[in-house]
């Protein structure tokens, strides 16, 4: 499949109504609804936002806006062209199995020639819980170039508000632990690496794979099922109150209501001082148990829902902030089971390696 054919098909997919691909039952019924109305409705009259959706197209958009953009939320024509090139390059990267990505062989070849090897892949922390690039063919990428300069759209500079001193202290402690060159325990790793959860925001913020979710509706409920890490939120729209504040959880308690064709979801009852609002539920200061999340889902076309998340946590952030990007329906895209903990050999392997390194360090120290 060459690049042009791929882009043509992607283009068709973007404008085609749902329901062209056999086996996608959600698409078939949605196509019927979509064709009869600009704002599709379920049979009982709620806006219809059902289907399989992915945040793949926002993969590559910086979470926080690089400072030189200032308050500009949209790319210029030239910047967009550059990003379009990256998108098509990424697709080719995946379609060709990752091009000639051979850093290991490069090291061996250099050693054979007696040359200095190219620097090995570096991670964020240098040691400790660090990681290396995923070879291309395992990854998933954007199908279209996003116009956004950042995922954060408010405050106007597209950057996180300042942390409170308490939150900064929590973040510093966390980063210190992550840099520990020989991890002491499974608690050195994120809740994602421990296969526990990525949290509400982390389950939809795009990463290099696994960005899919399914929305299923029935009278009185909207349910959202996320592939990674197999999370589900059952959102009642019947006006019931939140759970008692004595019952808390990683995904919190969500209640929803419709404002026109927008589903507004409010989430409270979170377990605090653990997860962050960031990629994979990590990469930021732990939020407090008082955090309140407000999300909006608005279907603006057969294949696009505009998603918005407002974070309100005065104990952590000195101001509320908002993330917004579209999630899209892609013909042929389906979720697969992501049973994480069941196959988490890496955690066992990493810890046993760490204890081996402890032994070596102790022996060397003597």
């Amino acid at each position: 499949m060459n690049q042009r054919t791929f882009l043509l098909m992607a283009g068709l997919a973007a404008v085609a109504p749902l329901g062209l691909i056999a086996g996608q039952s959600a698409s078939t019924s949605a196509a019927k609804t979509a064709k009869t109305s600009a704002d599709p409705k379920t049979p009982w009259g709620d806006p219809d936002i059902q289907g399989t959706w992915t945040s793949d197209d926002t993969w590559g958009v910086p979470f926080e806006r690089p400072k030189q953009f200032g308050t500009r939320a949209t790319l210029t024509e030239d910047e967009l062209k550059a990003r379009e090139k990256t998108v098509s390059n990424s697709e080719e990267f995946v379609e060709t199995g990752g091009a000639n990505h051979s850093p290991a062989k490069a090291q061996i070849d250099a050693a054979a020639k007696g040359e200095a090897p190219p620097p090995p892949p570096q991670g964020r922390f240098g040691r400790g819980v660090d990681s290396a690039p995923v070879p291309g063919h395992w990854g998933e990428f954007a199908r279209r170039a996003s116009h956004q300069t950042s995922q954060i759209v408010d405050p106007p500079d597209g950057r996180l508000p300042a942390l409170t001193p308490e939150a900064q202290a929590l973040l510093d402690a966390k980063m210190k632990m992550r840099r520990d060159p020989i991890p002491a325990s499974y608690t050195n790793w994120s809740y994602y690496d421990r296969c526990i959860t990525r949290g509400v925001a982390g389950s939809i913020l795009p990463v290099v794979y696994g960005n899919g979710l399914e929305i299923v509706q029935t009278p009185g409920y909207v349910a959202i099922r996320y592939e990674m890490v197999h999370d589900v939120r059952i959102i009642p729209t019947d006006g019931r109150p939140h759970l008692s504040s004595n019952i808390r959880s990683y995904m919190g308690d969500a209640v929803g209501h419709w404002e026109g064709k927008t589903l507004v979801v409010e989430t409270t009852n979170l377990l605090g001082d653990r997860m962050a609002v960031g990629v994979n539920g990590d990469g930021g200061a732990p939020y407090s148990e008082d955090m309140k999340l407000t999300e909006r889902f608005t279907r603006v076309s057969p294949n696009t829902i505009n998603y918005e998340l407002i974070v309100n946590d005065p104990k952590t952030y000195t101001a509320p902030w908002k993330v917004a990007f579209p999630i899209t329906h892609e013909p042929g895209y389906q979720l697969f089971e992501y049973a994480c903990h069941e196959g988490n050999m890496a955690m066992h392997n990493m810890l046993s390696t760490a204890r081996l390194e402890d032994k070596k360090a102790a022996a060397a120290g003597k």
């Binding site: 526990i196 299923v216 069941e342 810890l351």
Partner: protein
């Protein structure tokens, strides 16, 4: 529902002790005497039609081995996904969300969930814990055909199991507005001499504002699974 089908949406849970043992069983001691009566196994009437699971002789030997090490090897101890049909009779509620397209089952235990494909049946791309579910309506009964299992889940805490050749056909039908009959036909020539059935009654939770809560049990298993690999405080190891 406006498509004429019964609406199975709700928070459901089985009573009884099938998760301990799907066959008839007496009360017995649990693995930790320190837990006293709280840690003991309650008695139960089995849910297997005909009483006994028709294991092949070799499979029966494996079941006995599983039973002997059940408090260590049961996937439920490790917070692994329960598979089908065990998910239906765990001592935890589950939520059904029935749309007019696909049907979602969200189980409180381990945040296990699966989507029943109600469109054109799809083959399993790979083997998984919860299998690949294709459903259709047989009059007012929801029939779910599940294949593509990885053979790692158990049927209960007593070591009952099957291989990755397992094939389960579930039938969900309302007895009345708040009670559902659940029947599953289990087939696996590598493990059983013939197909066999289980039958469980599911009850709707009717408490005010009853909703699915979260039991993310991975954290409760980390000490068990990784505790011996955690750095001991200095002075040890």
């Amino acid at each position: 529902m406006s498509n004429g089908k019964p609406n199975l949406t709700g928070l459901w849970q089985a009573l009884g002790t099938a998760d301990w043992d799907i066959q008839d069983h007496s009360a017995s001691a649990g693995p930790l005497y320190q837990m006293g009566a709280e840690g003991a196994v309650p008695p139960g009437q089995g849910i297997v039609e005909g009483g006994e699971i028709p294991y092949t002789p070799a499979a029966l030997e494996q079941k006995k081995k599983n039973f002997a090490s059940r408090f260590k090897d049961d996937p439920e101890v490790k917070c692994y996904m329960p598979g089908v049909p065990r998910a239906a009779y765990l001592p935890f509620p589950f939520q059904i969300i029935e749309s007019q397209k696909d049907i979602l089952f969200a189980y409180e235990y381990a945040t296990t969930n699966r989507l029943i494909n109600m469109g054109k049946p799809q083959e399993a791309a790979t083997d998984t814990w919860m299998g690949t579910s294709n459903g259709h309506w047989d009059k007012d009964t929801l029939v779910v055909d599940v294949t593509g299992f990885n053979g790692n889940a158990w049927f209960d805490r007593a070591g009952d199991f099957a291989s990755d050749g397992l094939h389960v056909v579930e039938r969900y039908s309302l007895i009345d507005a708040n009670t559902m009959n659940y029947e599953a036909t289990i087939e696996d020539p590598a493990t059983f001499t013939r197909p066999w059935k289980i039958n469980v009654i599911l009850y709707r939770h009717r408490e005010k504002d009853a909703r699915l809560l979260e039991f993310k049990c991975v954290e409760f298993t980390e000490q068990l699974l990784y505790g011996d690999l955690v750095r001991k405080p200095s002075g040890g190891k």
